[in-house]
Subunit: 167 residues, 2 copies
DNA sequence: AGGATATCTGAACAAATGTTCAAAACAAAC
DNA sequence: GTTTGTTTTGAACATTTGTTCAGATATCCT
């Protein structure tokens, strides 16, 4: 709290005009992050599964890249939520994951994708993409668009029916 | 420290016969984890890159599955290391990552793999595999061997030259 | 301008946490 | 069984951290 106050340029006490306690602040940060995530992701269930997946990959990478702090908190502070708050946050995260899984399921049905278990594949994709935030730096060797293109290649191949048609 | 003491069944003070301070304890835990990781991973540079990669995937998953606590600490407590200790730990982690990258580079040369950038691919693979620890439960739907097989499928396809020959 | 309302400061309190140390308990050697 | 060396206890100290609150300061409305 003192760290936040210093960053904001205010005394600690003043923060308590904006949050009843630290737990609520943490929870509100996470919840609004996940609400924004769910609201921002648009998916057209009638489109081609490959195009939907590509859009998901691009969306996920850019959305997370734009909010490094929120993403960091959402991952590192999970264990500091009360059980009740944890459940709520997990429910939201699950809802987002379900959107990806739905794409994968659709692709399996059309034959575009070949994965043994869509839930496993979904977790693999999410972990892969979210991992970018831990190492990507804008002043690095590659632009975010380069990185996005390469991740899309890998994700696409990883879940594709392996006939070499998609990438 | 009090939590550790309670778990061990001893008073806090007694712990300080075994570690000069908490920072050293944390550092020693991480270092011995990474030393063990590097020592345990055997790689045959003359073997087929696909076989080497498969072995890496299986090794990584099982090694990390056997040490959930060490893995958890190695990821969540990184930011609590002193700068000097952080550098040492990062160097070890980097050494491990380099072993994977070497496999990918070898496969690119032989034409078994097709990735635009081996460092990016290496990070994607590591993130994917390490992510398993956050959700896998032994009493879940799938056995660790099932999960390993599926991840191997995905990793293999993700980095393969996309001619459908490898999986 | 003056009063009502909102916001901030400065200092304090309480709990948690890393660390120390003298005395007690224990173990090993002769 | 006494001596010597090691380990543990129990209590204390210093810092950090979440939180509160009375009084000061700023903002807004008429």
């Amino acid at each position: 709290m003192r760290e936040i106050a210093r960053e904001v340029g205010v005394q600690v006490g003043a923060l308590y005009n904006y949050t009843p306690d630290k737990q609520s602040l943490l929870f509100d940060l996470m919840k609004s992050h996940l609400d924004a995530l769910l609201a921002a992701f648009q998916d057209d269930a009638d489109a081609d599964p490959v195009a939907r997946l590509k859009h998901f990959v691009q969306f996920h990478i850019h959305f997370h890249h734009d909010r490094p702090d929120a993403v960091f908190i959402a991952y590192m502070e999970l264990r500091n939520l009360t059980p009740a708050n944890f459940v709520q946050i997990e429910t939201l995260r699950r809802a987002y994951e379900d959107r990806l899984e739905a794409i994968l399921r659709a692709g399996v049905i059309t034959g575009d994708f070949a994965v043994a278990d869509t839930k496993i594949a979904m977790r693999a994709v999410i972990a892969m993409l979210t991992g970018i935030n831990t190492w990507f730096r804008a002043d690095g060797r590659l632009s975010l668009d380069d990185v996005t293109a390469q991740y899309w290649q890998m994700v696409c191949k990883a879940v594709s029916a392996s006939d070499g048609s998609s990438p």
